[in-house]
Amino acid sequence: MKIDKNTINKIARLSRIKLDDKESEDYIKDLNSILDWVEQLNEVNTENVEPLSNISSSILPKREDVSKDTNSSEEILENAPDKLEGFFAVPKVVE
């Protein structure tokens, strides 16, 4: 078993998702079965194969290095759950 209680807690913490005990158990089961299933990739010989990260065959185009006005701060803040004097507001971080 690749994923145990400790591992799921660690991944959940890295993902910033709180899990209750029932969920943890379900995900331990799901993730183990998915990881067992993807294990079949080990049958494939990938020696000297370049990883494919960008399928796009076109070359990245350059653009002019000029500044542009896009969103205003008002627009950016429009959907914020909490804001204060032109800033996003979050719970107190510094004691």
């Binding site: 910033r16 993730l31 998915i34 494939v44 399928i55 076109s58 990245l60 627009e75 959907n79 971080v93």
Partner: protein, 474 residues
């Protein structure tokens, strides 16, 4: 099946046989009648009427003027909220317009509403949406069927004739599979043909916008409208967009079709093997050379996809933190608590599952074994296609391993659910264009789809083969 056609409607509008208002009122009426299908996450009649008013005052000539289009609720739209079918974006009102929807607005189309989908496009049945299931319009009474997914709302909107075309996105089959389930045409173009700008990201190296329509001609018209280079998407391609519709040619004489033997999978229903054979026979009669090809790494496409897509999703969905937009939990004693509770309460089960798996395969010590390995296998899968396309002009396969399944069919086993995408995922990994067209029915009279794949940016060949098969079937 509906006989609506965008091409015919454009003619009727031009010759004033029908007005923009009459046309759209007809569609509004049907949308309200079909409310039980839960096709739309957002529908507001006043908004549609306002768009009609504005177009009536507009004297300019526009290619899609007055045409009712449904938009998958993954595209950011200024005039309507955008949710990605997630609680975490429940009250999100974009302050900008996606590239694709802007193109459709520039052409004068009318947005009838935002369609339902699997949450963040993660699913194959439109059953992971925070806003409930969409029902396949082809369902019999008391036997609701799934419309497929993730773009199930858009496919259903076309099938129920609630619009003349709809946008979708396809990461591993999310346009082609629901098109097959709902008996409509769905095209996923080459990766890079349509800008991803303003589409809520799922797996950026795979996500691609596309079109649902009533027939192949309509798809060719609409795809041309949404394609094009955009410098705000770094993977957007600078290629010439031909006039697909004007260039449509159903004469396939002398062309070669590739039939990949690896797509004959144990357990595929007879009827699906049968329509595949029927399609090949039709092509043969049209003078197409049949070439048996091999795509040897096909069986590894799904496990490859289910490493790469969740990995990219775990990174893309990090932005939903309850700070900038969308839902924020009430339980926020500290910043970390705020993040963890917001994401725990804001995301649904399948999305969390994929974030967790993606985080795992990218985490220290596992990156090489999973993510890098998957990217290498992805290269082999893409190479398979490159080799095959040296011997053929296009490839024909079934679209999905089944017809539409019952809505309440228990899909507790994630791997079983993932198998829905077995025929669509390989082309997604290779970035190739693919279309699904209705071609035959199963014993319950449900539509089955045939998939046509083409070379990179050879959408024209895909459309030509599709229109040829479509015309022979009608």
């Amino acid at each position: 099946m509906s006989k609506s056609s965008l091409k015919q409607t454009l003619k009727d509008l031009e010759t004033k046989k029908i007005s923009i208002r009459e046309l759209n009122q007809d569609y509004l009426k049907r949308i309200k009648e079909k409310d039980n299908l839960n096709v739309f996450i957002h529908f507001n009649e006043d908004n549609v009427l306002k768009q009609i008013d504005n177009l009536e005052k507009d004297n300019s000539v526009k290619k899609l003027k007055g045409i009712p289009i449904a938009i998958k609720d993954l595209f950011c739209t200024k005039s309507m909220p955008t949710t990605a079918a997630s609680k975490i974006l429940e009250n999100f009102n974009p302050t900008y317009e996606s590239f694709v929807t802007q193109k459709l607005l520039d052409e004068g189309s009318i947005f009838v509403g935002k369609t339902n989908l699997d949450e963040f496009a993660m699913g194959s049945a439109t059953n992971t949406s925070f806003f409930g299931n969409t029902i396949n319009p082809l369902s019999k009474e008391n036997e609701p069927l799934a419309p497929g997914g993730s773009s199930g709302g858009s496919a259903a909107a076309v099938a129920a004739d609630l619009c003349l075309g709809a946008t979708g996105t396809d990461t591993g089959g999310s346009i082609r599979q629901p098109a097959s389930f709902c008996g409509v045409v769905g095209i996923k173009p080459t990766y890079g043909l349509c800008s991803r700008w303003g589409i809520a990201a799922f797996a950026s190296s795979l996500d691609q916008a596309g079109i649902f329509s009533h027939n192949v001609e309509d798809a060719s018209i609409l795809l041309q409208s949404i394609a094009g280079f955009d410098q705000r998407d770094s993977t957007s391609a600078k290629v010439n967009i031909p006039n697909y519709f004007e260039n449509l040619d159903d004469d396939l004489n002398g062309k070669t079709v590739g039939i990949p033997k690896e797509y004959s999978i144990d357990g595929t229903p007879m009827e699906i093997s049968q329509i595949w054979e029927d399609a090949i026979k039709v092509l043969e009669k049209k003078g197409v050379k049949i070439k048996n090809i091999s795509l040897p790494h096909t069986k590894y496409a799904l496990p490859t996809y289910y490493i790469i897509a969740p990995a990219e999703a775990s990174s893309n969905l990090a932005r939903y933190d309850g700070v900038k937009y969308g839902f924020r939990s009430d339980e926020i004693d500290s910043l970390d608590e705020m993040y963890e509770n917001t994401r725990a309460q804001g995301f649904g089960r399948e999305v969390k599952r994929r974030i967790l798996i993606g985080t795992y395969v990218l985490s220290a010590g596992y990156y090489d074994a999973y993510y890098l390995k998957a990217q290498k296998v992805r290269k082999l899968i893409a190479d398979d296609f490159n080799k095959a396309f040296k011997e053929c002009d296009f490839i024909v396969t079934p679209t999905a391993p089944s017809a539409a399944f019952p809505l309440n069919e228990k899909q507790n086993d994630p791997i079983k659910m993932y198998l829905n995408d077995v025929f669509t995922v390989p082309a997604s990994l290779a970035g190739l264009p693919g279309i699904s067209i209705p071609f035959g029915k199963d014993k319950n009279n449900l539509p089955l789809g045939i998939q046509i794949l083409g070379k990179h940016f050879d959408e024209q060949q895909v459309f030509n083969a599709a229109v040829s098969l479509e015309r022979s079937y009608e």
